[in-house]
């Protein structure tokens, strides 16, 4: 894939991703970005080499004498490994495609405003609301501010705001206090993955089923 992305996760995010310590919602967004961005993939390989060197320098601890034999026994009785499940992805990042297949709260888009639809995911964490947003061609979203963090990755099409045009694979981070007014490109709808830190933390697992919280205030 051609590397055309201009907006990337910052280095500390990539480092935490490489070390496996980045929290779930941000990891989903970084993994989506990596699908499109060869320069971040190259950076990540270098970072993984650091992790790999660290593992090589871990204090080795002896394994039991029969560990290998019992491992092989396990492998032999388990039989042939099932091939990697390969769901057709329509060129979406693997993680996003899997979420779409397994973890949509509702199979249908929900109208958020006249030009924005949303489809939310259940991702097993309660810090961020992870969702797809669809802005219709030329759609203007209401100007809005951010009270928490928001990660956005453009999956299809493009949108713009006061500062720039964001295209496929671009990764954006909105900080608390940022105000912007995204607009869908004229030539087609735009689909974004987003993770928004929710001001309300549901206290029960069923909290996800509570009334959807509108992230964009349609004023």
């Amino acid at each position: 894939m051609i590397n055309s992305t201009n907006h990337h996760p910052d280095e500390n995010m990539l480092i935490e991703f490489s070390a496996g310590t980045l929290e779930t919602a941000a990891s989903i967004c970084v993994s989506a970005h990596l699908h499109y961005c060869s320069s971040c993939r190259a950076k990540l390989l270098r970072l993984d080499q650091v992790g790999s060197q660290m593992m090589s320098e871990a204090e080795p601890i002896d394994v039991a004498d029969d560990a290998f034999d019992s491992l092989m026994e396990k492998i032999d009785t388990a039989g042939k490994a099932k091939p990697e499940e390969n769901t057709p992805s329509d060129d979406l990042p693997f993680s996003v495609n899997k979420l779409i297949n397994t973890s949509l709260i509702s199979k249908n888009w929900k109208r958020l405003s006249s030009s924005v639809d949303v489809a939310r995911f259940k991702t097993g964490q309660e810090e961020f609301e992870v969702a797809l947003h669809k802005i219709c061609a030329g759609g203007k979203t209401p100007k809005h501010g951010h009270e928490g963090l928001e990660y956005t990755v453009v999956l299809k099409g493009s949108f713009s705001d006061e500062n720039a045009v964001y295209r496929e694979g671009d990764f954006l981070l909105r900080q608390p206090g940022d105000v912007h007014q995204p607009m869908g490109a004229q030539n087609g709808e735009c689909i974004c993955l987003s993770a928004l830190s929710a001001p309300i933390v549901p206290t029960s697992p069923l909290g996800f089923l509570m009334k959807p919280w509108l992230r964009i205030n349609p004023m």
Binding site: I15, T21, S31, S38, Q49, M54, E57, P60, P93, K98
Partner: protein
């Protein structure tokens, strides 16, 4: 035979020689990658046993280095088993032009370790396993084993030369699996200091390029 994968995808290798194998310097460069290729292509049990002998104790050490939430005493042996089963099952998909065996096995181990800790400490259903984040497309530009070995040797050498506090922070992050926020709490340092110290260490190692140098 063991190198058909490498031969087929490398644009620079002469095509007129159907029995071409890795050249000698590449062969010497990284025995673990050779063994892993052999496991993938021939289900080579002897090669797998050698990998196990080398990586088993390291994986166990890697598991014990992380005393995060969800840690339990049997984690080490469980991790060795789970990682090596994955290595056996996924070896056929190993692409030596993307990463060395050591780096590849590290990524498997990192993902397994996180997932095992999460399964212990989390009661919610998690739709994604950590390895689901790591399905990137293969690169257009292959990296030879020799290049990878060189770059790994450099990582090793530059890591050994880091000042103590930078070495310590990288070990917290990679070996102990601490987030920047956790490292900040443990070391009693502001989050911003942790972030910049991690970056400084990696700049010094020439893993990342400093902002000043980019401009």
């Amino acid at each position: 035979m063991i190198t058909s994968k490498i031969r087929n995808t490398s644009p620079n290798r002469p095509t007129g020689n159907p029995v071409a194998t890795l050249n000698n310097s590449e062969k010497r460069s990284d025995q673990w990658s050779q063994l892993l290729i052999s496991v993938g292509e021939n289900r080579d049990r002897r090669a797998f046993a050698q990998l196990f002998e080398h990586f088993g104790p390291l994986l166990k050490g890697f598991a014990h280095a992380s005393r995060n939430e969800g840690w339990f005493p049997g984690l080490g042996d469980d991790l060795v088993q789970e990682v090596m089963i994955k290595v056996w099952n996924k070896a056929a998909g190993y692409n030596a032009e993307k990463a060395s065996a050591t780096t590849w096995i590290y990524t498997v181990a990192r993902n397994c370790r996180i997932d095992m800790l999460r399964r212990k400490s989390n009661t919610q259903h998690l739709p994604l396993e950590n390895e689901d984040y790591w399905h990137e497309p293969d690169e257009v530009t292959p990296i030879s084993l020799l290049q990878q070995k060189r770059s790994e040797d450099k990582v090793q050498a530059s890591l050994a030369q880091l000042p103590k506090e930078q070495d310590q922070i990288l070990r917290k992050v990679y070996l102990e699996g601490k987030s920047h926020a956790e490292a900040s709490a443990e070391l009693g340092l502001p989050l911003g200091t942790v972030k910049s110290r991690v970056r400084l260490a990696l700049q010094k190692m020439q893993i990342i390029v400093s902002k000043e140098a980019q401009e």
